[in-house]
């Protein structure tokens, strides 16, 4: 075995950049996921399918209509909000009205996810779409021996902005306070005169838009747009949410970076690491949960965010 890589500072810095940008993506994806869990206490397993539809929306806007990147990002976020809204009205609200339990809602979201993926396969086919090379300059920027691609810069800037934005929104805005109230107790919030269904709709819109941002950013980073693309991030997103504390937004951000860095460093420094990166990531998840069973940041949009 060759240990020389351990002593290579450029290689280390490169992996930090790669791991942080990977982690930022997981974070953006997981915030939307955890937001719905925090407010409604249900796992929305159609979040990955929403993410995939957004990647296609962004791809079609940029590659099909030739729109510039900011509009592609906007298109993906709008599409995400629209799909999430559809999910709320078709898959979740009818069950809530009937007073069905949380498990039914999760099953309903699995069904919705299968439908969303099948429809995408029927419309777009099952072959991978790729951006035309003009979408984003593939040449990396060289910063003192480090290679940073335009996609990575975009991901880091957009993710941090989105994470900060969501954090501020939940903490400071009137709607954010309403969301936290509904998360704490729907009954109490209703008694206080909060429009609970309205708050839930806003939550879905925000979660969908975040899935949208994650979708287009992953598409730009990997140049791989295919109806099955959600399955890769789905499990990781769930892991990040559990790692950070179910329903906890800051936890999802931290969990995302932890998973991204652990994955990257496993591939980079463990011999044969690419084969066991998932095993190591989940082993670490397991140990963190042994020490902190409620995740790094504990639980809840209501009490912590």
């Amino acid at each position: 075995m060759d240990f020389s890589l351990f002593a290579d500072p450029t290689f280390l810095a490169q992996n930090l950049v790669d791991g942080l940008s990977r982690g930022a993506l997981y974070g953006v994806y997981a915030i939307g996921f955890t937001l719905i869990f925090g407010v409604l206490d249900i796992l929305n397993l159609a979040h990955a399918a929403t993410f995939m539809w957004c990647a296609f929306a962004g791809y079609l806007a940029m590659a099909g209509l030739g729109l510039p990147l900011p509009l592609g990002l906007a298109a993906a976020m709008v599409a995400g909000a629209a799909v999430a809204l559809l999910l709320e009205f078709a898959a979740f609200r009818p069950l809530r009205r009937e007073g069905a339990d949380k498990l039914s809602a999760m099953i309903s979201s699995i069904g919705a996810s299968l439908i969303l993926v099948s429809v995408a396969e029927a419309i777009f086919g099952t072959e991978t779409r790729r951006f035309p090379s003009s979408a984003l300059d593939p040449r990396p920027h060289l910063v003192g021996g480090l290679r940073i691609s335009s996609a990575q810069i975009l991901i880091l800037v957009a993710s941090v902005a989105l994470m900060a934005g969501v954090g501020l929104f939940i903490r400071k805005s009137r709607m954010g306070k309403a969301i936290r109230a509904v998360a704490a107790s729907q009954r109490a919030a209703r008694l206080l005169g909060i429009d609970v269904n309205g708050v839930i709709v806003v939550t879905f819109l925000a979660a969908g838009a975040l899935a949208g941002a994650a979708g287009i950013l992953v598409a730009l980073l990997t140049n791989n747009i295919v109806p099955g693309m959600g399955s890769q991030i789905e499990l990781r997103g769930l892991a990040v949410v559990i790692l950070g504390g179910m329903g906890n937004i800051e936890g999802a951000v931290i969990g995302g970076f932890v998973l991204g860095l652990v994955e990257t460093f496993t591939i980079a420094y463990v011999p044969g690491g690419s084969d066991i990166k998932d095993a190591i990531a989940f082993l670490i998840l397991f140990f963190i949960l042994l020490v902190k069973p409620n995740g790094i940041m504990g639980r809840g949009v209501a009490d912590r965010a």
């Binding site: 790729r130 290679r147 691609s149 990257t264």
Partner: protein
């Protein structure tokens, strides 16, 4: 004396009657190819090559009045699907022979079904080590990795004189793993040090960390063994992280989509190919013209191999004089020195193909001879 003559005469008449037993009016040829998903970019050209071959064989009257009838199913590049499609072809459609499946991984799952049932199989894209070792009913006209890679490597060595090589492959894909092993052996034999070997798994789409790790060892050449879904992002991300050294691609890179989607990233890529579109072989030129006319797009190596399989099969059925599965197997095993679009073609004693291969490279957005 007279009795002997009569006996001989009777013997001749009987023999004649046997050999003249007409072939059935239709001979069913089954095919299992990946027609959906990323690997459709291998499966669809193969199906088109097969269809063109069936059309030409039927028009040529090589089998007299009997016709080949093609039954094609989608194996979805999936092992379970491959097994069920093979069962369907063998038991429901009662085909005489099966062409396919598309991927070696699917083949290792599905072909034993045909071997057990005594149905001959011709692989047209299977290059992994051990395909024909599955049994005496298994043939392929796609060159095994071990007979292409040393030649491709030798050509690259002659031009670039590399000392150190780095390898990337898919750990959970039989084709890719087998190709990586063959490359490792070939590198060792050529005296080139393998300084780094990395892998990825199905569904991965970000290969930057693996590629950075390879690049950190400063290799003189890179070897990538990938199927098309990963081949394109691997190439693009390799260029993105600054790889300028020569890249040798495995058989998965014998795919025009590498150029179409990979664009500039594909420039300079070197691949060992069993067939080359600008070949001067008149059969090959006629095939390119007919294929392009029928489908509006030029053929690739996989289309040529699909087409060739049908013509070899028609020849074997003719020489067997029978559509019986065992007779076709025996006749296929005897194919020697047959003139095809791939060049002069024979099956060796292991039912593997013997014909020339050519290193090609991507230049100016198309495949050209590597010199």
């Amino acid at each position: 004396m007279k009795r002997t003559l009569i006996a001989i005469a009777i013997a001749f008449v009987t023999l004649g009657a046997i050999s003249a037993a007409p072939l059935p009016a239709t001979i069913k040829v089954g095919s299992a190819e990946s027609l959906t998903g990323d690997n459709a970019s291998y499966g669809v050209p193969i199906r088109r090559g097969i269809e063109l071959g069936v059309e030409e064989a039927n028009a040529s009257g090589i089998l007299g009045s009997s016709k080949l009838q093609l039954v094609v199913y989608d194996d979805k590049a999936d092992k379970q699907e491959g097994i069920s499609v093979f069962n369907k072809l063998i038991n429901d459609d009662k085909v005489s022979v099966i062409i396919g499946p598309t991927l070696s991984g699917t083949a290792f799952a599905a072909i034993p079904v045909a071997q057990k049932a005594g149905v001959p199989v011709i692989g047209t894209s299977l290059t992994a080590v051990g395909i024909t070792a599955m049994g005496n009913y298994v043939f392929r006209d796609s060159l095994p990795q071990a007979s292409v890679i040393p030649g491709t490597l030798a050509a690259a060595v002659a031009k670039f004189h590399p000392k150190k090589a780095a390898l990337l492959f898919q750990a959970d894909q039989e084709y890719s793993k087998s190709e990586a092993d063959v490359y490792k052996a070939a590198l060792q034999k050529a005296g080139i040090q393998l300084v780094a070997s990395e892998s990825y798994s199905k569904g991965d789409s970000d290969f930057r960390t693996q590629l950075s790790k390879l690049a950190a060892r400063k290799p003189d050449i890179y070897v990538f063994c990938c199927l098309i879904g990963e081949a394109i992002p691997v190439l693009q991300q390799a260029r993105e992280i600054g790889v300028t050294q020569p890249i040798l691609g495995g058989n998965g890179f014998n795919n025009p989509n590498v150029i179409k989607s990979g664009k500039e990233a594909a420039e300079g890529l070197i691949v060992g190919s069993s067939w080359f579109i600008e070949s001067k072989n008149p059969k090959s030129q006629a095939f390119v013209a007919a294929f392009t006319k029928k489908y509006g797009t030029p053929p690739d190596q996989f289309a040529a191999q699909g087409y060739t399989a049908v013509l070899i099969l028609a020849q074997a059925i003719k020489s067997a004089g029978s559509a019986d599965r065992a007779s076709i197997r025996d006749a296929l095993a005897r194919v020697k020195g047959f003139d095809t679009v791939l060049g002069t073609f024979s099956f060796d004693e292991n039912r593997d193909p013997v014909h020339p291969s050519t290193p090609i490279t991507v230049k100016g957005g198309k495949y050209v001879l590597f010199e």
